[in-house]
């Protein structure tokens, strides 16, 4: 028969030598192997204290970004919901009133914006679809486990970025030039 690869090895079944039949040399070989492992570096990550670094292309929990003046960027255009293959995103659009210019960037904004984390497949198509650079999947935060199903529907209270920039997620998210500058200043002040 034609071999599939050239890696095939022909095995011969020879009668065992005395050393092989005595069994003890093989035991000592095995013992030496396990003893070497005794001193090897451990693969364990002690989880709550130690966190394994995320991959640079990791896509985690959604965030709704604010702009440099702290206004919500989302304009409730619905493109993310259209792009979502799992149909996890729903939103209700509303019109900005007078005096709310400091809260919302555009005249239209999302009154409610919900992501169902049970449906979401974290594909990232929403952040590609967003024309206002408002929705991102954070690179350093996972959607945490919950006990109840309704707790997996994330509303604006849990999605919108905090106003305080120091409380915001820092890794892997496209920042506005001002935010990047602020972050750079912060890192210069406290070199890691």
């Amino acid at each position: 028969m034609q071999p599939l690869t050239n890696r095939a090895k022909k095995l011969e079944k020879k009668p065992m030598t005395l050393a092989e039949r005595a069994y003890l040399p093989a035991i000592f070989q095995g013992l030496s192997i396990t003893m070497r492992h005794f001193f090897m570096k451990k693969a364990t990550v002690r989880y709550p204290e130690e966190v394994r670094p995320f991959s640079p292309i990791f896509r985690g929990l959604h965030v709704l970004k604010r702009d440099e003046q702290g206004r919500e960027r989302c304009t409730a255009c619905g493109l993310c919901a259209v792009a979502c293959p799992a149909e996890a995103i729903t939103m209700v659009a509303g019109e900005r009133k007078k005096g709310e210019e400091g809260l919302y960037r555009e005249e239209k904004y999302a009154i409610s914006y919900e992501v169902n984390m049970l449906r979401c497949i974290f594909c990232g198509l929403c952040e590609e679809a967003c024309p206002k650079a408002a929705v991102y999947l954070q690179a350093d935060k996972m959607a945490p486990p919950r006990f109840e199903r309704d707790e997996f529907i994330y509303g604006k209270d849990r999605l919108v970025e905090p106003v305080d920039p120091s409380k915001r997620s820092e890794r892997g998210i496209q920042l506005t030039p001002e935010q990047a500058e602020a972050l750079r200043n912060k890192m210069v002040q406290q070199p890691a």
Partner: protein
Amino acid sequence: MELPTLGWQSIVIFVVFAVSLLIATYCTYAERVIAAFLQDRVGPDRAGPYGLAQPLADAVKMFTKEEFFPGGANKALFVFGPCLAMITALMSSAVIPFGNNLSFGNNAFFLQGIEVNIGMLWVFGVVSLGVYGVMIGGWASNNKFSLLGAIRAASQNISYELAMGLSLIAVLMISGTLSLREITLQQSSEGAFVWQDIFNWNIMKQPLGFIIFLVCAFAETNRTPFDLPECETELVGGYHTEYSSMKLGLYLFSEYVNIFVVSAVMSVLYFGGFNFPFQYELRDWLASSQGWELASAQNLITALGTLLLFGKIFAFIFFFMWIRWTLPRFRYDQLMRLGWTILIPLAVINILITGGLITFGVIK
């Protein structure tokens, strides 16, 4: 028997009992840590510093689990099985000499529970009673798989006890006594050249016998590669399939006590017990040039010897665990073939060789 001696003996027995239990407790922890280290993991490290409270947590778990009795089981025997396993495991440590004598004033005290001249027979007699624990437990479970597992375990224990006893006979031929204390003292040598101590250890005279004894010890304590009694794939869980909560805990725990005892027996029989090299040189040096009293120098030697004996025991316990996480389990027919067609003839040959060497005066 005088009262102080009796009081001292009860203290020693209590201490030996407590130490056996403590060591067995921490064997469960050590087993998990060593298993983890050999597999490049970390092991239990949550309960207490370095996970040292882990045995406590395990015990709490065991005690709070549901107590389950299978339908139609003989309740009294069902409870008696694990008790018997535990009792026999603990009883055998009474005759092991954990140290030489301590002297206070005119009284000399032995660091040994009971000094009897049938020490070795006692250990073997008690250990062979342990089979009843397994057998009763398996039978009282009213479960065919448990019964099959118990029969397997019992036949394995009995088969390997034969080879174990035969390998021991060669040691007894050299020593001429059954007293463990006498056997230990014979392995020391006063006034000989410095490394004589190690050459006096029975391992030097009985290397083959020691290997047979070691293999049988693995089988007797139901440790890998001979842990056939607890085969998950073939017999659900072996003889303790139906056991739950602390009754199962006692079975598992008695295994660790057995490991401790058999390690102690091996250290005493083959590795010189509480003797260590240079002990008499150290004593004489302390007495002559350091101005110590001979009695207190001897006490120090005794204390050091006890520590070293425990060092030897711990080394054996580690070896047991090292083997466990290295070798896969034997098949049952392989196990029986090894016991009956290899180990027993080898032990008989060892007896013949020893007898010949003694006859021709090569070893005393």
